[in-house]
C-alpha cells in the first residue's frame, strides 16, 4: 500500500464534481443575498416610520422607503426562484456525477474486455443517457444565468432607489441626519448584494 495520494485527489475535483462544487458556492451566495434582502425589508419598514415622524419634510423619503420595501420583496421572490433552479441544478449535477462515476468504471471494463459486444452496447446506451443529462443541465445553466441577470438588473434599480433616498434625506430638516444614516445603510446593503450577484455572474459554473 502506498501513502501517496492518487492523482485525481491531488488535482482536485473536475467535470461534474467541479460543477457540484461551483453550484454549492452559488447556493451559499444566494442564501446570503436572501438574508440581506430580509434585512432591507425591516430597514425599509423602520424608514417608513421615521419618514412619518419627520412629516412633510420627508415625504419624498417616505415614497422611496416604500419603493425599497417593495424592492426587497421582489428581490426575495427572485432569489427564491433562483433557489428552485439551484436545487434542480444540484439534482442534475449529482445525477451527472453518478453517471460519470459509472461510465468511468465501465470504461475500465472496456480496457479489460474490449471485445465484449454487449459492453459496447451498454456504453452506447449510457452515452445517450449522458447526452440527455448534459442537455438538461445545459438548459438549467442558461435559466439560472438568466435569473441571476434579472436579479442583477433588479438590484441596479435598488441602487438607484437607495441613492435617491440619500438625496431626499438632505431635505429632511431636523430628521436629515437620521434619514441620511438610514439611506446610507440602504446604499451599503444594496452594494453588498450587487457585489454578491456580480460574483455569481462570474461563476465558472456558467462557463461549463
Amino acid at each position: 500500500m502506498t501513502d501517496q495520494l492518487p492523482d485525481a485527489i491531488v488535482a482536485g475535483p473536475k467535470g461534474p464534481a467541479l460543477d457540484l462544487l461551483h453550484i454549492v458556492q452559488i447556493n451559499e451566495e444566494i442564501k446570503s443575498v436572501v438574508a440581506v434582502a430580509f434585512k432591507i425589508n425591516i430597514m425599509a419598514l423602520n424608514a417608513i416610520f421615521l419618514a412619518k415622524r419627520a412629516g412633510t419634510a420627508a415625504l419624498g423619503f417616505g415614497v422611496l422607503s416604500n419603493e425599497l420595501r417593495s424592492f426587497s420583496s421582489q428581490l426575495r421572490e427572485t432569489m427564491l426562484s433562483l433557489n428552485a433552479l439551484i436545487h434542480a441544478s444540484v439534482d442534475g449535477v449529482s445525477a451527472m456525477l453518478q453517471d460519470s462515476r459509472y461510465n468511468d468504471i465501465l470504461e475500465r471494463a472496456v480496457v479489460l474486455a474490449s471485445k465484449n459486444k454487449h459492453l459496447q452496447e451498454v456504453i452506447e446506451q449510457r452515452e445517450n443517457a449522458t447526452d440527455q443529462f448534459r442537455s438538461k443541465l445545459s438548459g438549467l445553466r442558461r435559466a439560472l444565468r438568466s435569473s441571476v441577470d434579472d436579479a442583477y438588473r433588479l438590484v441596479e434599480l435598488g441602487g438607484v432607489l437607495a441613492k435617491s433616498a440619500k438625496i431626499e434625506a438632505a431635505y429632511g430638516a431636523g430628521f436629515s441626519s437620521s434619514l441620511s444614516q438610514v439611506s446610507g445603510e440602504f446604499d451599503g446593503i444594496v452594494e453588498e448584494i450587487r457585489t454578491s450577484l456580480d460574483t455569481l455572474r462570474k461563476s465558472s459554473f456558467f462557463r461549463g
Binding site: M1, L106, V111, N116, L119
Partner: protein
C-alpha cells in the same frame, strides 16, 4: 484482471470461481466471486464491490455471456458483496437479486427497482436457476444479522459467504486449501472478530454438517474441499467467537 476457474462441471451445469486480481489495490479486501451456470442462465454469488466491477466483469465475460446472468445471490449487505449491483443491472435490467428480507430495503441504495429484489425469509428458501434447485441456507449473525449461504445439492457445492474466509498472505494465494492447519491460522482472527454469536455458530455447524458437500466456497481466501470441509466445520464449532482478542 481476475482469473476464472471452473471448479465444477457437469454438462452446462458449472461453478466458476472468479478470483485473484494481481492489479487490485492493496487497500481493498480481496474477494472471490462465483458464477453458477445452468440451462444458459447464470447466477452470480456475491458479485463484489463497485471498484472491482471491471475485473469481475472481464473475467466473467471470458467464460460466459454477462447479459445471460439472470440472478444475483447476495449473502448479506456489505459493500464488498453487492455494491456493484447497479452496474450488473445495466446488462440485464430484469435481473433478480436474492437477499435476506432484512436487506431488501437497504440494498436498493446501491441500485435497482422494487421488482429487482427477491427477499429470502429467515428460514431460507429454494431458488431456481433454469430448473436447477438451489437452497438458500440460513447463516444469520455469521457475520451479518440477515445472512444466507447457498447450497447446490446436485453439484455438492456450498457457497459459505464470509464463513470460512481467510485473509491470506501474498505468498499463499492458492485457490484451494492445501494444508488445513497452516491455512486455518489465517482464518482464526477473522472468525473470532467478525462472527458475532456462538449460539448461531453451533446451529450453523449442526445444520451444515448434515449436507453432502464436496467444496465449501468462501467469499475471501481459499476453497475447502473433501475432508477439509468437515474439518473446517469442526474447527469452527469449537472456536470461541464474538471476542475482540484471541
Amino acid at each position: 484482471m481476475k482469473t476464472t476457474q471452473t471448479i465444477f462441471q457437469d454438462g452446462d451445469h458449472k461453478w466458476l470461481a472468479i478470483v485473484r486480481d494481481p492489479a487490485k489495490a492493496d487497500f481493498l479486501i480481496d474477494t472471490n466471486e462465483y458464477l453458477i451456470t445452468h440451462g444458459g442462465q447464470g447466477m452470480l454469488l456475491d458479485p463484489g464491490g463497485l471498484e472491482i466491477f471491471p475485473a469481475v466483469f472481464s473475467a466473467v465475460a471470458t467464460e460466459f455471456d454477462p447479459s445471460a446472468i439472470s440472478a444475483i445471490f447476495a449473502s448479506h449487505q456489505d459493500p464488498d458483496v453487492i455494491s456493484s449491483l447497479a452496474l450488473w443491472l445495466e446488462f440485464n435490467p430484469q435481473l433478480r437479486c436474492h437477499v435476506s428480507w432484512m436487506w431488501s430495503g437497504f440494498i436498493p441504495h446501491f441500485g435497482g427497482v422494487a421488482s429487482t429484489f427477491a427477499p429470502i425469509p429467515d428460514e431460507g428458501m429454494t431458488i431456481s436457476l433454469a430448473g436447477l434447485s438451489l437452497q438458500a441456507v440460513p447463516a444469520h449473525y455469521l457475520h451479518s444479522s440477515g445472512n444466507h449461504n447457498l447450497y447446490d445439492r446436485t453439484a455438492k457445492m456450498f457457497f459459505s459467504g464470509d464463513i470460512g474466509a481467510a485473509l491470506l498472505p501474498a505468498d499463499q494465494q492458492g485457490l484451494f486449501v492445501k494444508d488445513f492447519s497452516t491455512h486455518i491460522r489465517h482464518a482464526e482472527g477473522f472468525h473470532r472478530r467478525w462472527m458475532g454469536s456462538n449460539e448461531a455458530k453451533h446451529q450453523w455447524c449442526s445444520r451444515v454438517s448434515q449436507l453432502d458437500i464436496d467444496m465449501l466456497c468462501p467469499q475471501h481466501g481459499a476453497i475447502y474441499q473433501g475432508e477439509d470441509v468437515q474439518r473446517f466445520i469442526n474447527w469452527f464449532d469449537s472456536l470461541q467467537v464474538g471476542v475482540l482478542r484471541a
